[in-house]
């Protein structure tokens, strides 16, 4: 054990474990924190972990995009919205009714255990071919085989921008 | 730029600017009710440097009160002393030799330039530019050197005496002043290139903080603030005193009423002051600087007297109510910034905080003079 721990591979393994912990802790903070701003910070931490996981899944490009989009944009936008919309006393949130906490917890645990057991029970057929995470491949794929996705992304984003503008401005005008 | 924004009063928060805040140049507090970065309402709270000048006057003899005047507005101390000595001289019928009057006018104008230079530097620093402050203070040091050589102090000159002056100027002063006028003309050109025409500054000042002539009337604003709003009012012209009628100078007036207009008024005033100084040096007569027989104790006949002079920031008025005693029965100082600052509350509504502070800078505040 000692030998592997101090080898390069062992270090990588440790880093991966650390990554997992970061992800889970961040996730727990994100869905449990009493203050919304704390929840956003949890989300950021969680997403740093998720980006690390993507990195371990051999696709650094997606990892980078994940940080760029989620931390650089989504998290910032959410914190912005919190500052704009939520006054101080509303920053704290709790469960809607006294029962929703336990019920939510139980159903969540059930869901997780179901999914986990599914994942563990199934025999996954493994292919030897390793994926290619380089920008080039993704770019070529996006513009050839999966160009529909590319088009859809652009349309979705365009609509989102327009929609967001319309909704937010509409609120301001009256 | 500043479209009318519908402010929603129930989303506001209170922002206390001051008493210690880099933009207030001293101890002034503005309680701003903000909606985001927009000012919904502002209430100026002053009195953080109230130094009882008016009460002190009742406890002191007329000459003993002289040092107070230069602490009132330390930036253009000369003009304030000038107002006070004029008021007392007028009431007590003291003759002033012509040379003294000329030297007074020259030093007052030099002091006005140095005051405007401090304003210029501090104003640009408010807007975030640091180097102009250094250049302005460099030029100001030249004035201070000249004045220190004559009066003995750098800031709070106690130079004027009833009927004359503390001491005479020498040739060094005259030579040095001529050199300074030349140097200052060059520097002003540099300031215009560096600051006045700078696109960032123009964007920040044009159309910001509009003050209408009607508003000036309601608040009694004077000086560059009124002149930036198209009011041609300068005590030196409207109500000539001392030897000012002898000089040929212009009163810069701009009609826009925004911060940029006030900025330009002050910059041009510096040029006009240079003209006055030059003419004063040319016309400076020989003769004594103090009247032949100096009154030993000064007593004013009963009654009340009002005198106004144009100080760096506007019309400085002084009202002396005398009951014939050695000290005034009541002395009221009408300070220009007091009225000018009062505008702020009304004018800054709906502005962005950055604009409001630029506007505040353009009013050229000296807080001790406001609080007295």
């Amino acid at each position: 054990m000692m030998k592997t721990l101090f080898s390069a591979d062992g270090l990588v393994g440790l880093l991966f474990l650390f990554n997992l912990i970061v992800t889970v802790v961040g996730g727990i903070v994100a869905c449990n924190a009493e203050r919304l701003v704390r929840a956003v910070i949890g989300l950021v931490v969680c997403f740093v972990g998720v980006a690390g996981i993507y990195f371990f899944l051999n696709s650094p490009f997606i990892a980078m995009m994940h940080i760029l989009i989620y931390i650089g944009a989504v998290a910032v936008a959410i914190s912005f919205a919190i500052m704009l919309a939520a006054p101080e006393e509303k920053m704290r949130t709790g469960p809607t009714s006294p029962l929703s906490g336990p019920i939510g917890l139980i159903s969540t645990l059930l869901l997780i255990s179901g999914l986990v057991s599914l994942a563990l029970k199934t025999e996954w057929t493994s292919v030897t071919k390793i994926n290619d995470g380089s920008v080039k491949t993704i770019g070529i794929q996006l513009l050839t085989n999966h160009s529909m996705v590319f088009e859809l992304i652009s349309i979705v984003l365009l609509l989102a921008i327009l929609g967001a503008l319309v909704i937010a401005r509409g609120g301001r005008e009256e | 730029m500043s479209e009318p924004i519908v402010l929603q009063p129930d989303e506001t928060f209170i922002l206390n600017v001051g008493p210690q805040h880099p933009a207030t140049h001293g101890v002034l507090r503005v309680k701003m009710t903000m909606d985001g970065e927009y000012i919904y309402n502002a209430e100026t709270v002053i009195g953080y440097i109230h130094r009882m000048h008016e009460k002190m006057a009742e406890n002191r003899t007329y000459p003993q009160y002289l040092p107070n005047l230069s602490r009132l507005d330390y930036l253009s101390a000369m003009a304030y002393c000038h107002g006070y000595v004029l008021a007392v001289e007028k009431a007590a019928a003291v003759e002033v030799p012509e040379r003294a009057e000329y030297i007074r006018a020259i030093t007052v104008e030099m002091n006005r330039i140095s005051s405007h230079l401090v304003w210029f530097g501090a104003f640009v620093m408010d807007l975030g530019g640091f180097s102009p402050l250094m250049y302005a203070f460099d030029d100001r040091e030249q004035i201070l050197d000249l004045l220190e050589a004559v009066t003995g102090s750098r800031l709070t000159y106690c130079y004027f005496r009833f009927g004359g002056l503390y001491n005479d100027v020498d040739d060094d002063f005259i030579e040095g002043t001529r050199r300074f006028v030349k140097r200052m003309r060059k520097s002003l050109k540099m300031y215009h290139k560096l600051v006045t025409t700078n696109v960032i500054l123009m964007k920040r000042l044009m159309g910001i903080g509009p003050v209408s002539a009607e508003m000036c009337q309601r608040y009694g604003a004077t000086g560059p603030v009124a002149r930036g709003s198209g009011i041609n009012y300068d005590v030196r012209r409207n109500e000539p005193y001392s030897v000012y009628p002898e000089f040929d100078f212009d009163i810069p007036v701009y009609n826009e009423g925004d911060s940029y207009a006030r900025y330009k008024v002050r910059m041009e005033e510096m040029e006009q002051s240079l003209r006055i100084i030059e003419q004063g040096l040319d016309k400076l007569p020989d003769g004594p600087i103090n009247p032949e027989k100096k009154p030993k104790t000064i007593k004013l006949p009963p009654g009340d007297y009002y005198t106004a002079v144009e100080a760096g920031r506007g019309s400085f008025g002084i009202r002396i109510v005398s009951n014939g005693d050695k000290s005034p029965y009541r002395l009221k100082l009408r300070s220009p910034t007091y009225s000018n600052m009062h505008l702020f509350d009304e004018a800054c509504r709906g502005m962005l905080i950055a604009d409001a502070l630029a506007f505040m800078g353009s009013l050229d505040l000296v807080i001790p003079e406001m609080d007295r």
């Binding site: 270090l11 990588v12 704390r38 940080i67 760029l68 912005f80 500052m83 | 975030g128 640091f130 920040r204």
Partner: protein, 331 residues
Amino acid sequence: MSLTLINVLAAVIIAIAFVAANAAYLVWAERKGAGFIQRRPGPTENGPWGLLQPPVDGIKLMTKQLLIPGGVDKIIFVIAPVLAMFPSIVSFVTIPFSDTIVAHNINIGLLMIFVFGSMSAMAILMGGWSSRNKYSMISSVRAVSQAVAYEIPMLITAITVVMIAGSLDLMEIVHKQSGGFWHWNIWPFQKGLFNILMPASFLIFFICSLAETNRAPFDLGEAESELVAGYHTEYSSMGFGLFFMGEYANIVIGACLTTILFLGGWDCPFGLFPGVWWFIVKIYILIFTFIWIRWTFPRTTIYSLLNLSWKVLIPISLFNLLLTAGLLKVF
């Protein structure tokens, strides 16, 4: 895979040392430069030419009491300055100083720098929000909206360069510009691509990196005369020190990136010294320009800043992107 990670870790440690030293002496350079512009000597008494000033300041800041004001959100308050410093250190890992001197070159280096650049906005937001100070709050909102607005033209101009080079690899981008002065991306006539908008592109990128690093005239976040000290108003001691150093580290990164993208990296116009010296000369010239600009101009306001970004920089950079794409297709 495993070796890369270790390399990266080692590189991070080196980068920390480099960033810290660089940031500290940039403060000195800034003070000295400001002095020279203002006809005064700047720090002189501590050490020759005041060279001991940064360590002295460092000692003072480190031994100063670390105040955590009451009412702040403690965890976030403590994390924020670290988060401000951390991304700039990581970004250094991938910046190539010459053919050989690079901590770890990854093929998406440019993307990575932008990724970590976007994280500093989060740090400012956290620092400003957790301080429970209205000035900090306003300032952090300002700083973030500014950063978001300027990331767009910056990314678009960077993509223009990426298109010319055909790679996100910083090394590759520099290699594409090799071959002397006239081949740098800043000039319109290189390798069959006559894009006359390239100098404008460079200007846009430079302006954006000024804005990204919250430097004057875009230092709205810490606008002294308006918002006291902005998002770090409540920070004392090293908390403030880290924010301060993070800002200077960001300047170095901005200068490095501009050099790599537009000024040919370590490519030497005359070939007198080895490339790395040229690189350093170039980034320090850019840093000097940063300082020079800071001590010359007044500050803009938030609306004229956003106007500039949305009405001038983004249209021009988009147009340039289209033009470059078209030219690349034609030639």
